[in-house]
Point group: C2
Chain length 378, copies 2
Amino acid sequence: MSMLSPPGVYQKRQEKIYEWMFQEGISLIMIEDFEGRRNQAVRWLSGQPGDALLFLSMNKCSLLVPWDINKAVRCADVDTYIPYEEVDRNPIKALRSAAKELGVPNGSRVEIPATTSYPHFLRYVEELSDFDIICHEGGVWAELEKSRAIKDEAEIKIYRKVSAMTDEIINLVEKNVRSGKLKTEADVALFIEHKSRSMGCEGTGFPTIAAGPERSFGIHAFPSYTGERFGGSGLSILDFGLKYAGYTSDVTLTFAAEPLSKDQEKMISLVEKAYKLALAEVKNGEPARNAGIAVDAFLGRHKKTMPHALGHGIGLEAHEAPSLRSRAGNDWILELGMIITIEPGIYDPVHGGCRLENDVLITENGAEVLTNSRIVRL
Amino acid sequence: MSMLSPPGVYQKRQEKIYEWMFQEGISLIMIEDFEGRRNQAVRWLSGQPGDALLFLSMNKCSLLVPWDINKAVRCADVDTYIPYEEVDRNPIKALRSAAKELGVPNGSRVEIPATTSYPHFLRYVEELSDFDIICHEGGVWAELEKSRAIKDEAEIKIYRKVSAMTDEIINLVEKNVRSGKLKTEADVALFIEHKSRSMGCEGTGFPTIAAGPERSFGIHAFPSYTGERFGGSGLSILDFGLKYAGYTSDVTLTFAAEPLSKDQEKMISLVEKAYKLALAEVKNGEPARNAGIAVDAFLGRHKKTMPHALGHGIGLEAHEAPSLRSRAGNDWILELGMIITIEPGIYDPVHGGCRLENDVLITENGAEVLTNSRIVRL
């Protein structure tokens, strides 16, 4: 069991799903976390950091089918295991074996991942005709998404820690870019990689984007960092996250170096105003898209458009629920305990890009800003 | 268009798919490369490095729906674009718009990704009832997989270059571990990150695994590298790849430092023998599983098992076709121009792990070893 989570945290989460299964009459659930079909719900429910199938049965048993049994024994808090080799690395065989091991009777309702491809779904139904195979987007997947969106005490504690480490790195990067110690995009990105490990993080939560003035116009610069100058005259963007105990922070700084054009100054000013506006809109009980709508309207009045969502939940994945997207169909309501990013940005092929992103926790007093990212003037 | 590929390389690949479409009577194909549904076939066919939908129509037109239009204009070699925003970031709307733009008549056969989830598939069929929506695992997906498995001239040229760079890094890492300049797992991994960029690579092809003697027993150590000692007494594993022009190398070294136990010496000897055996088995026209079967049998005679496949194709993805898995059902035949890894390994919770991996090109003279990874004695 992970040393970073208090005892019982995984059982408590499993318990919640068992209750849901009982209410819905679902006998067995399979969650898949393999290459091409990643789902961090496996780690959230068991502590197992990937490359495994997790089964939960209505009689409150958890069974893991890991690729690497040694890793599972160290990491996972489950009742029992079947090595993946033993079922020929075949999810359908794994499901049959797990159902047998967990005493799931024929005819039972079994939920498989909503991401199961149509051709695979046909195979499940054909080969497991003695079960009632269910594959839809609501059900346990909606339940898991919602549960994971609202962080529990253990998770909020982890976020306070990873946020403090993120701030420490923000300060060091600012200092070292100012002093000229970090000159290129790669200097900055690799400094973060190095520091993250020496601080005890698993690493970075996603590929760091360090884009100097020539490349910052890209929403997500490609490649994510190069040997080019970072922090030269104009706008440079740094978007990174630290991954600690599985959970990632996600912040973006813009470095604005003189001389700046009038257009660049205007971009900075608009992004800072949009950021403040968004923070004020983010409240417990409010539709998550409202902040997005407010920012879109504000930028629209200044003839600018933001080509991405205002923010998103963070957690074991860099992008989780809720979305702060302004579009119709985004029905998320902000709730206490959600941790989201606020990240307004404007991009221009000539003037470059400007984005400001921090992580915030929804509390009874509105948005508590956890990280201290900012626009840095050089 | 990418400066690293000769003009016409993408059109040539598209042409091959158009021909296939004509033969099969498919009017439109959609390929998706977004978060959670990655498919490097988009880059292979157009040069666009991700975050886009690619449509190919029977009348030989290519249409890209990119998330970041600025990136697409710089990178992609296609006939026309529709910004993703314009179709509300909705793949079904994108398909409808693309069909209209490309003049695909109602009732036509349209192939959507074989990875499309069952719930999404139902939506495609419902919302696009005026087309014949096809979603299966053969069809264009098998064609693309096979085409990508056999590298063309441009790709082999890239592999000669990325292999040479990989060898240069292998030599530098060996030198610096010997001298004590690189002491920890993070030292080694970050040295590679840094060098890869200064050599002009996009970065590394997958997270570098640097596992010292205490952690090398894991097939893929987790976290992939830490601040722990690398190269101390016993067996340390280094598994990395460089990504150049989109293509990744994939090599593994084992560092064996005195004093070594008799068991560890035996593991090294078996892995080296298995590696040589595999190289001799890898031949144009042979079933790809034969080498895997030979290695499994050899290790079995010494009461060892290898918990992973003997190797796999590499390319724009770290894992491509063909697989060298020994299991029944692996029907791949080795062909001229395939580039694969050969990577026998043995793992033991007490003695650690030993793996040796190089990249080889299938030629008329058998396996041409492209990289120079090895067991390093310290």
